[in-house]
Amino acid sequence: MIKWIGMILIMLASSSTGTYMGEQLTRRFRDLIELKRAMELVRGEIRYQLTPLPMVFVDISYKIKKPYSELFFQIGTRLEAHEGETFFEIWQEEWERQKKQLILNIEDMKLVSTMGTSLGYLDKEMQLNAIDFFIDQLEIQIEEARDHIHKKKRLYQMLGIMGGFLLVIILI
């Protein structure tokens, strides 16, 4: 009897690990899409309203999902506070703080960091170009993420189940 319970537990654990890993792929995809949407809002605010960045970030924080809403709100409030820091410092620190809530890989984070260096001190045209470039790069990452979901999600799930089987067989 105990043997059976053990077998079921192993199966459950390994298959849910597989599902979880597959799920991470979908979450990265969603995070990237939401970031793209947020940056499109930023771009719109700059292009059509010329709103200053502190206000842009606070305003947009109410229109986007967690954890970006928290991230943007913090960036906006800190910019507003004017404590002698540069935009890049604030941007880096706040991303670092929220990083755990996000499923972005190293490459995604590099892009984010590059974006931080080109916000805050450029004229309108260059600012918009920089954001356009960032969004283009994000799209490439999004495509890649979509591809991964197709190719790897089922694979991870299957591996989870098969791995469970293998372990059970060996242990029996």
């Binding site: 010329l50 709103t51 935009f87 805050g120 600012q127």
Partner: protein
């Protein structure tokens, strides 16, 4: 004046130095930053170099040097991290920050089709602290008040003698009114955002209860707009001089409005040398001339009537 307003547009190290220097911000007039050059402040009418430990010095030896990075950071802070939002202001060469202080910018100008498009590589900054001296116009005010309305007045002053400060206080007092003088509706055309010093559309200086402000508006057009839209009794403008200004002033006077204007100069004779203004002086358009000098910031040295007779002589120290 709020000390923090100034400090918060400076990078941390410079903030730190100024805090150490322990200045009375009421007497601080300018902060000048230039790339790879010493940190300079204009304090109590004297130029000082700021030393590496925050001391004020007469000589440049051992002065704190401004790095390109610090200058870039300052620009970022001044523009509220949004240089793109200030393109029009940058084209004019200055940004007004919270508290009404003006930051003059200089650098490489980008020209497109013969007009200034923007400024790149901003390398020189001059933070000019706005000083509101309430009551500095009180002594002159009786001389420019007529029975019904104020006289057409021209304030003549060399740079940095407080002509804008005086104009601002006169506007406030005329707009608020006094015991024996009913407040007037004043229209201010603030081309360089100096009089009202609007930040996000809200005047940072007190210009009185009956004052309307056209911010950043070209003077000549603005004066006409004001008359058409806001029905002012008095129009106030800073630094007149161009031919268009002259035409607009004539229009204002024909409309029955009174005008208070300022001009760079040291005496009535001096402004007679200027081709455009000479006409106004010779036609006796202005009924009062208020002359300022370096001796008292924002205080009149003398007042003349349209014939050139002195009717007021300030106390000279």
């Amino acid at each position: 004046m709020n000390k923090e307003e100034i400090l918060k547009v400076l990078p941390r190290e410079l903030q730190h130095l100024l805090r150490k220097a322990n200045l009375d911000f009421k007497d601080l007039q300018e902060i000048r930053l230039r790339v790879n050059m010493p940190f300079i402040v204009f304090y109590k009418n004297t130029e000082y170099f700021v030393g590496t430990d925050g001391n004020l010095m007469i000589y440049a030896d051992g002065a704190y040097m401004i790095s390109p990075k610090q200058l870039r950071e300052t620009v970022e802070l001044i523009s509220n991290y949004s240089l793109y939002a200030y393109e029009d202001e940058i084209r004019q060469g200055f940004i007004t920050i919270q508290g009404g202080h003006r930051v003059g910018l200089s650098g490489k100008i980008i020209v497109e089709n013969g007009t200034i498009k923007s400024m790149k590589y901003i390398a020189f900054l001059n933070i000019r602290l706005a000083h509101q001296i309430k009551g500095c116009g009180s002594k002159v005010l009786p001389y420019i008040l007529g029975d019904e309305n104020v006289y057409h007045t021209l304030i003549v002053s060399p740079p940095r003698c407080g002509k804008t400060t005086l104009l601002r206080d006169l506007i406030r007092q005329i707009s608020n009114g006094q015991l024996l003088f009913e407040g007037k509706t004043v229209g201010v055309v603030d081309e360089r955002s100096e009089i009202g010093a609007c930040y996000l559309g809200i005047p940072q200086n007190d210009l009185g209860v009956r004052t309307d402000i056209l911010d950043c508006c070209p003077k000549a057009e603005g004066m006409l707009m004001m008359i058409r839209s806001m029905a002012p009794q008095v129009i106030a403008v800073d630094e007149i001089g161009s031919r268009e200004d002259l035409n607009a002033i004539e229009y204002v006077i024909n409309c029955g409005c009174k005008i208070i204007a300022t001009v760079h100069g040291s005496s009535i004779e001096d402004i007679k040398q200027k081709p455009v203004l000479r006409k106004l002086v010779e036609e006796k358009v202005f009924e009062r001339y208020v002359i300022l000098s370096h001796k008292h910031l924002g205080q009149a040295e003398s007042v003349f009537d349209s014939m050139g007779n002195q009717i007021y002589l300030g106390e000279l120290q």
